[in-house]
Symmetry: C2
Subunit: 506 residues, 2 copies
């Protein structure tokens, strides 16, 4: 997921909904059944850890075309082993998805979204090899597994699978049917996931669900709390490129820089085009028609943000980010509102000409800005890109290329939906404090479920803890030494309980 671990951590602090008792018996599963499932989880612990280790050792990285078709094939086997009666690979223009169904003869069906791909990594930056999936003692956390994908997202997903294996081992029928849809391009912004989800049989199966979750393990190590996000911004990633070739002015390749006196410059043209996209301070999107599409936050959304702001530490956040001031020196609460409220145009990277040490006397033939825009309702990916194209064309920049590498619009789920209520009920039964957050600034392709034609509730959900997504030394807690954080077994039990809450929530 393209989530900001800084946000994750802060947003998980104690908030709006307080849990009461740990693993209280209740709706849908009797105390003796609960004990049997817990025993099965414990008995299956080593197998569940070994399953996670095996998965981490098989990385699929779309940006590097690595681990295909092994990744989807493995995903298919994981589903079948966990009790899905049907699992098939769904081809796409890019990397394939995996579609699986588990018919438990239940009234309700839950959708599960997995990503089987992981982010790129540089082994030289890691303390332990990123594919070794080594179990190590992490002071203050307990026994953790270290490896690429540990928390993002194989650890939490393997925890969900462990719940299914335990139910099977305990001889229990699931209280809900399951529809699993997995993709292998999440880390490159899901460019083909929409295509996979709209395959008729996949769409039809998902349409029957009460909503979709992706398993997560984001308990706060400080409080044990989790955030239940009701939405997330969308993200569109693209490159803006000026080249002499397309422009018909300037050089086709790099030429001697003294020619600048009489030859037009692609990087200067890129600077001119970029400067029309945002206000002079870089903070307000000025692309024609974008601001008009922004739906303001509701009073309830602002209330939820204010509660989170009141219970979290601005100083900690600034320290974690290495930031001294927010934009316009705004307050902590204002900064959190802005994080949820505004669309952005961010420069991820600039690439042109000579980029080594010192200088080199070239007039570059090409310049690229790597951009990503974050979108809020009611902006959509397609409409935003169309507005950007029109904005550039209107200003004479019709030669500036927009090469979209991926993205999706914002996602939003109703606080009153059965899915969210089942999540809240599970948190309460597990004694885990839950904070509702109206909209994460990070992005995930939830809109593929929450947007048309499916229009389902969707969100992240789960217990346990890990960190280091997209960073070196990514980890996920297997055996927790922190009493506030659940280990993998307890987190698996949390998923079992959640299935019963989904079944019970009308």
């Amino acid at each position: 997921m393209d989530m900001n671990s800084g946000i994750k951590r802060r947003a998980m602090l104690k908030g709006a909904v307080a849990g009461t008792a740990l693993a209280a018996p209740g709706a849908g599963i009797a105390a003796d059944g609960m004990a049997k499932v817990k025993a099965a989880i414990a008995a299956n612990h080593d197998a569940a850890v070994a399953r996670l280790q095996e998965w981490i050792r098989l990385p699929s990285i779309a940006a590097e075309d690595r681990g295909y078709p092994e990744g989807p094939e493995h995903m298919q086997r994981l589903a079948l082993d966990a009790g899905f009666q049907h699992a098939e690979i769904i081809p796409s223009k890019g990397k394939p998805g995996v579609f699986a169904t588990l018919d438990a003869g239940a009234k309700k069906t839950l959708g599960i979204y997995f990503m089987y791909d992981v982010k790129q990594f540089d082994p030289s930056e890691w303390e332990h090899p990123p594919l070794a999936a080594k179990l190590v003692d992490k002071p203050g956390f307990g026994k953790v597994i270290v490896g690429r994908g540990a928390v993002n997202q194989k650890g939490p997903q393997a925890t969900f699978l462990a719940a299914l294996h335990a139910m099977k081992a305990a001889g229990r029928t699931l209280p809900v049917n399951l529809v699993l849809i997995a993709e292998g391009e999440e880390e490159i912004a899901s460019p083909n996931f929409h295509e996979i989800v709209t395959v008729p049989k996949v769409a039809a199966a998902l349409k029957k669900t009460v909503g979709v979750i992706i398993p997560t393990g984001w308990q706060s190590p400080a409080t044990g709390g989790v955030t239940l996000a009701l939405g997330a911004k969308g993200a569109v990633e693209f490159e803006l490129t000026v080249s002499g070739e397309k422009w018909g002015r300037g050089p086709r390749g790099d030429i001697h820089s003294s020619e600048k006196a009489r030859v037009d410059s692609p990087p200067w043209r890129l600077v001119a085009a970029l400067s029309t996209l945002v206000s002079k301070d870089g903070n307000t999107v000025t692309i024609d028609g974008i601001q008009e599409q922004v739906a303001p936050l509701t009073a309830r959304q602002k209330q939820l943000i204010a509660m989170t702001a009141a219970n979290t530490s601005e100083a900690d956040a600034k320290k974690a980010l290495g930031v001294e001031r927010w934009i316009d020196d705004m307050s902590w609460e204002e900064s959190m509102i802005r994080l949820a409220q505004v669309p952005t145009v961010n420069i991820q990277g600039l690439v042109s000409g000579y980029m080594g040490p010192g200088g080199k006397t070239v007039l570059p033939g090409r310049a690229t800005a790597k951009i990503e825009m974050r979108l809020v309702p009611d902006l959509t990916k397609e409409d935003t890109l169309a507005k950007l194209r029109a904005h550039l064309d209107k200003r004479g920049f019709s030669d500036v290329e927009i090469n979209v590498t991926g993205g999706y619009g914002p996602t939003q789920t109703d606080e009153g939906s059965a899915l969210i209520r089942a999540e809240l009920a599970t948190c309460e039964r597990m004694g885990v404090k839950a904070t509702l957050h109206p909209r994460l600034a990070g992005s995930w392709p939830g809109v593929i479920f929450t947007g048309p034609p499916l229009n389902l509730p969707a969100g992240q959900f789960g217990f346990g803890h890990g960190s280091g997504a997209h960073a070196p030394n990514e980890y996920f807690v297997i055996e927790s030494s922190n009493p506030k954080v659940l280990g993998m077994d307890d987190a698996a039990y949390g998923f079992v309980d959640f299935l019963y809450q989904v079944a019970a929530t009308g």
Copy 2:
């Protein structure tokens, strides 16, 4: 030298001054003396080529801190071997210079400028290893030496040394005294050469000269002509950097891009700062006070440019550059005038955040534009940098760092100076057509000689041919199969003749 080979080639076409007879006897050296020197050059041919090969095999590259102190020590030996009675290494804050004097008891003294360093190279791009100094047959050119520094500048400099060796072997006293000053940082824009030249004994020795030349070998293969440049633009290279650290806003390192909503962006600030430096089309410098310092070209300068324009091919130039249109669709002559006339701000490179394939969701903590400005009279390096600083400060960009990596102001030499007249006379005697060019768009540190306190005439001069400066497969012609171009021996004789012309020109 930071010369544009495209310019070199074009500017060398036939022009204002037509040569008459090849190697005519005349001022200063009798026909029998001439024959003896020519015989000595021929006898020393193999030694001269071996000397050049040995030199190419010992690269000094300041940007890579490679070949020091071997480079200056070798330069010192080369000078002593060629007959300089005194040669010493002059330390500087950077790489050392080499200062040498040859007292021939003559009335006049000529200054010689050498660069013993060469440009970086990537062996994988070369047909022959760049340090092998291999002799190969190049169709249409003859026997050439291939290697880094072959034409820029070891080949022409070794040709000049061959002239001195031949004079010595022929038992002749030089008609002029020589002062040699060599530097080892020309390819990084001579950041410390001013310090070397202003060492009192060096400055005093240079002050006695009639002017300074750097040996070149830039005869046009099409016409055999050479360009005598009366000046060159200055060049100042620097990086403009915005960092969260210096700014006190934005992140200190790269952070998750979703934070853009509430965190200021160094690359956006760089874009805003850059866009104040030039007109929207990137073609006119808008830094406060710069245009006011530009001295317009004189009628004579424009006349010289018009003559060059009339005798050169616009189509060839556009093809060589890979350019379809000049700025504002101007004419060939207008483009050549602009090349000589206007100061420029060129973006050599842009560096920020993620620069690999695809995207990466970061908000970079740092952004850098690699800039070089080309300066015309009456702009100076120091004043231009002060104006840039003031311009940025006035607009609130006082945190934008200007990291100067090197540079120097423009250089200009009087067409009527004894040095230029001696060059013209030599060309005429050698039967080589000379074109006077008022100002090259490329740059060399001539201002260190032509500016205060020395105020000497200075320019490039020499015969022979090579190409590929700063590029792979750089070469210099040793034995010419092109009747219009002199081989190394004849070019060495050209230098001998030049020394006599300097002695004879009042």
